[in-house]
Symmetry: C2
Subunit: 340 residues, 2 copies
């Protein structure tokens, strides 16, 4: 039998921690060969665990006395909260006492913590957060939605490489289409960053770079991976979240303005609910932090048990498919080629 994969879970991170997080971790035991290590205040975790029946052999706990607040700055967390569930979880990963770490807590602190504790993978200039966004054809991955607000073309080139390997090895997408978010499809379009990134991405062997994608084509799902700096990624992601809500609100108001369409909307309300669900972050998987030398996944802050179970499954897929090793190989290959 294969050795079980051990996923460390930040039991104290996220809006619905600890109850929903722990419930989700236990649900993830449905997946064969997946064990979980719950990190956080032992008294709290044990109290929650008592409410469930589960295979105790597959669940361990590691005590951490502190909790990272959702609005604390990364600097404060790194310096003053060394015994927080987040920092302890990252150390478990670093010291190979866990195969992956997942947290629904403070994003900034998790990214900074992962950089400091787990460290960058050799050859990677900047790790990047990859977030899934629903599209007409399923979803696209936006890289970067993390900390690289002021990026360089060489970072974006590596985001393309990392995204391609992630899609291929973890999500089983063959020759994933990698596109650069830009203001036009022609290669000379854009700002200094995208012009440079276009050139850099064009030179990478082994990825399916399809060129620029205009923002209007992103929702159609024309690309599997969309590359951009974290500022642009944040704008796209947050805008889409807000727009979906406002669009439904405007539509509701529009439909309520006549008795007939009000009636129609009532009959069709199941369809509306399905749309709301589609754009509900809880339904979307966790966001991997690509480029650190360990599997770190950020689950959405509002993750419930279902989302947490999904994020843990995702962590297991990372480990099982040797993502880190494959990424290391590609990045080092790129470095060797540059050295010629």
């Amino acid at each position: 039998m294969e050795k079980a994969i051990n996923i460390a879970v930040d039991a104290m991170g996220g809006d619905k921690a600890p109850t929903e997080i722990i419930k989700g971790a236990l649900k993830a035991l449905e997946f064969e060969g997946v064990n979980v290590t719950l990190v956080g205040r032992k008294d709290v975790i044990e109290k929650e665990l008592k409410r469930h029946s589960y295979d105790a052999v597959r669940v361990s706990t590691v005590h951490a006395s502190e909790i990272v607040g959702m609005s604390e700055t990364p600097t404060v967390v790194l310096k003053q909260k060394k015994d927080s569930s987040m920092m302890v979880g990252l150390r478990l990963l670093k010291e190979k006492n866990a195969d992956a770490f997942v947290s629904a807590g403070n994003t900034g602190a998790l990214l900074s913590g992962a950089m400091m504790v787990v460290g960058r993978l050799k050859g990677v200039e900047r790790p990047a957060l990859a977030v899934s966004m629903p599209t007409e054809r399923g979803f696209s991955l936006i890289i970067d939605c993390g900390a690289n607000m002021d990026a360089k073309p060489s970072y974006l080139k590596q985001f393309g490489e990392m995204g391609s390997i992630y899609m291929e090895t973890v999500l089983n997408v063959e020759a994933p289409k990698i596109a650069l978010a830009n203001i036009g499809v022609e290669k000379e379009k854009g700002n200094a960053l995208t012009k440079g990134a276009y050139e850099a991405l064009s030179g990478v062997s082994g990825i399916n770079f399809i060129g620029n994608i205009e923002a209007r084509d992103i929702p159609r799902g024309c690309a599997d991976v969309i590359i951009c700096d974290a500022f642009t990624g944040n704008i796209i992601l947050k805008y889409s979240e807000g727009f979906a809500k406002s669009f439904l609100a405007m539509m509701k108001r529009e439909l309520m303005s006549s008795a007939l369409s009000r009636f129609g909307a009532f009959i069709a309300s199941g369809g509306f609910r399905a749309m709301k669900k589609k754009f509900n972050a809880d339904e979307i998987g966790g966001a991997p932090f690509l480029g650190v030398s360990g599997v770190v996944v950020k689950a959405h802050g509002s993750s419930g048990s279902r989302a947490m179970r999904g994020a843990i499954a995702q962590c297991a897929a990372f480990v099982r498919n040797d993502f880190i090793e494959k990424l290391e190989f590609q990045i080092l290959k790129g470095e060797r080629n540059n050295g010629v």
Copy 2:
């Protein structure tokens, strides 16, 4: 009687030129005190004019032998198409033979042409294109959606000033709320550009700067004017256009999946059409190019007669409310303050 305002119209620019453009220009004669000058190939214009009855005293034509294609590069247009309807129209404005110029043609060429022919207003670092976007509460103006792909904080500061004056004097919005598009509301959030711009905008007297706005709050209509570089502006604008389409398509698919909701959707179809219309560029006014020393308005490329009529009315409001003079005053005041 007040002197009539004379709006020069690019009769050859836009997807629906010349027919719809000319029809729209004649419709604009509904507005008292507004005359139009149609710029383009005289034979074509005269042929179109024959199909309508109108007050001939209020319509003049100026011949221009060439037409700017929608995909021609600005450089080519500026160098080789000096007798195009666009360039001739801009010269009419420059030489004060028109009070404003409106075109539904090639955006890049119009912006570059306006910069070259009409020129920047004294003290303005970079003119910016201001585009209206529908929101829950009406619409917000996004500045810049133009040519400043790589912006500086000082540009964004002036975009804020220009947007404020535009909203106040042309659209009669009292103390318009000016916000900076950013990844978080805290002033220390963002990239180098937005951090600098936050500080610069905070120091402007006489504008209602409400701080950062996260992309998720843009569709709710929390600000009257949203300030950003042209790259970000283009991403927001195009994304919103594409998202509205994809969202409706996804919703349709969702509703079609059951007979009941299909029936509901059929009954409610009027409401859906209204939503489509709301996000149809044709219904939204023209985009003023703020900061050039004359009134230049870009109508959407797909403008029909209704949109063109609206853009002409907008031009007239600019002129009537002394926008250029007020803007000049504010910008020079800012310069004087910096000089102290």
